[in-house]
């Protein structure tokens, strides 16, 4: 490997658009054929009379039905697998707070390809085997842990599985081990900086940091810039999702003008979440991904529910892999707050346990400095007291039970009955006013 080359996989990273599309068609055809080993896809293709041979061009992908998270839940745990379990070496699972969890399986080759993508990303932003990589992301089922671990090792860096939390120890590692790159969720980088300040550590003078990889929670361009100013290094946006593998799917190059999604590994579609038709180039729509290199659990036209848009297909960095904008929101009602996935139904479930409360509620998300905050407004069914202390005690109890469920403490606001907007049909439960989505 030539340390001076800007590319980790020059043969793939610098493909022309025509070459990318040719490779994609070959890989799509092979993937569809392989999917026929999965009971789920076999049945789905038979139902609509589609055969793998019918996929003759990239446009033919539109003949294939979408795959959804619900499909993953319905086939829990192994109904979606296209490889026998004995060939699988890793399983990642989501928490499943709103139904069956989802399971993603990996073969040895899948893990290797996943590591390749992560290594490619880290190389792209200037990291080399001499670098020291500290992964301050959660491990366990959260793919940001093992995903970056394997990728950083693949590149050849000294890799520290620091995991999240214990900021003092993190800072000690950064200083003692000469850490040059950190991966963490953006809010944790902010936290690290606060602790550095308390400890009198100046990241510019007292550390060898040069690169930050941030992802897994929505953040605005403004937040990124603030993080870069604090730490005095570049922060690159990372996109991943466990259904595809984990981190690695998309990453910013040094141009920081959108994330390159690796089209030798995925087919990227942006569709209108209502009509499911492709949007016009550059318009915001739902990201749909098809895996091209996976053995254990290839997914065809997976609806990510993330909203984004295509920024372009060429880049001064020499890579022609599609550039996508940072995620603009969700097409379902899932909220991502400080790295935690929350569905309104979880909040509703708790509120409905209080007989003092009416059925109508509204969740508002706001950004205060760099922190995302949630306010839950809920209507009072009966005024059961005219004592403020008792009303405040009720608020406190609602907060406590919500925290047990969603792991963070929202601001709870009691409102008079009838004061929240009642919409025709489906009630509006979530208003997202965070900067990141503006």
């Amino acid at each position: 490997m030539d340390n001076n080359s800007p590319y980790f996989h020059p043969q793939y990273e610098t493909l022309s658009r025509e070459e990318i599309q040719k490779l994609q068609l070959e890989r799509l055809q092979a993937t569809v054929k392989h999917c026929m080993n999965s009971p789920f896809y076999k049945q789905r293709f038979e139902e609509i009379g589609l055969k793998p041979e019918d996929i003759k061009s990239l446009d033919d992908i539109r003949k294939i039905p979408f795959t959804t998270k619900q499909d993953l839940r319905d086939t829990y745990p192994f109904g979606m697998a296209s490889a026998p379990l004995r060939d699988c070496v890793r399983l990642h699972s989501s928490s499943g707070t709103t139904g069956n969890p989802t399971v993603i399986l990996h073969t040895k080759k899948d893990l290797d390809e996943w590591a390749n993508q992560v290594a490619r990303n880290l190389w792209m932003v200037g990291l080399r085997p001499d670098d020291v990589f500290q992964n301050s992301s959660g491990y366990g089922m959260f793919t940001g842990g093992l995903g970056f671990q394997y990728g950083a090792e693949k590149l050849g860096m000294l890799t520290i599985p620091a995991a999240a939390g214990n900021s003092l120890r993190q800072i000690k590692f950064i200083k003692d081990f000469g850490t040059t790159a950190i991966h963490a969720v953006p809010s944790y980088v902010t936290r690290l900086y606060e602790v550095m300040q308390q400890e009198g550590v100046d990241p510019r003078k007292d550390t060898k940091l040069k690169v930050l990889a941030i992802g897994a929670e929505p953040h605005s361009e403004e937040q990124r810039k603030r993080i870069e100013d604090m730490m005095g290094v570049k922060a690159y946006n990372s996109f991943g999702m466990s259904e595809m593998c984990g981190p690695g799917v998309g990453f910013e190059c040094p141009e920081q003008n959108g994330m390159h999604f690796w089209e030798d590994y995925y087919i990227v579609e942006i569709v209108d979440p209502e009509t499911l038709e492709p949007v016009k180039e550059g318009e915001i729509g739902e990201l749909v991904l098809t895996t091209l290199c996976r053995e254990a659990m290839p997914l065809l036209r997976y609806r990510t529910r993330d909203l984004t848009r295509v920024l372009g297909h060429t880049c001064p960095c020499g890579r022609n892999h599609v550039r996508l904008d940072r995620m603009r929101g969700r097409s379902d009602d899932m909220m991502v707050l400080r790295g935690v996935n929350i569905f309104p139904i979880q909040i509703e479930k708790i509120l409905m346990q209080f007989k003092e409360l009416a059925n109508n509620y509204l969740i508002t998300l706001t950004t205060d400095e760099d922190n995302d905050n949630m306010t839950v407004e809920v209507e009072l069914e009966e005024l059961f007291t005219d004592d403020f202390p008792r009303l405040l005690a009720l608020e406190k109890e609602i907060k406590r039970r919500l925290k047990d469920e969603i792991l963070l403490t929202p601001h709870v606001k009691l409102v008079p009955k009838g004061s929240l907007p009642v919409s025709e049909g489906k009630a509006v439960r979530v208003v997202d006013k965070r900067k990141v989505y503006q």
Binding site: L383, D386, P416, K417
Partner: protein, 139 residues
């Protein structure tokens, strides 16, 4: 000995108070005294009227969060020191006052309050022969 006071839960937002006042006005209810206590997010509007039962039904029908609370209304001379004397008797009986407001009525001072222990407050008023008003006085 106590009076039924309306306690109305309102949001700290423009237009919420006028909605309540409008409803009371249309029902021909007369307000004798009122006060708003507020927190950052919401307030409780406490109102004495000449017909609390009718006022309560009117607001309830409109879906307003309203409650009837029993409060005391001590009637005192409009002179310096009278409020201190009256409240001292309540305090000496080890009764805590949750909230209090006052107004002038027919040349007299009226102290409206809610007690944490209603029975003990009643006892203190009886034993000390304090003068008090009931809803009948406002009819």
């Amino acid at each position: 000995m106590t009076i039924k006071q309306l306690s109305i839960f309102i949001e700290n937002k423009g237009g919420t108070l006028i909605k309540v006042l409008d409803l009371l006005s249309k029902a021909g209810i007369q307000i004798i005294a009122s006060t708003v206590a507020d927190t950052k997010d919401y307030g409780i509007y406490r109102v004495l009227t000449n017909n609390s039962a009718q006022a309560y039904l009117t607001l309830k029908e409109e879906g307003i969060n309203v409650q009837l609370s029993d409060v005391f209304a001590l009637c005192i001379d409009d002179q310096p020191g009278r409020a201190a004397e009256a409240i001292k008797e309540i305090s000496d009986a080890n009764v805590s006052i949750l909230y209090l407001y006052s107004f002038l009525w027919q040349g007299k001072g009226v102290l409206v309050f809610r007690a944490d222990q209603s029975e003990k407050a009643k006892e203190a008023i009886m034993l000390n022969k304090l003068s008090f008003l009931t809803e009948e006085d406002f009819k």
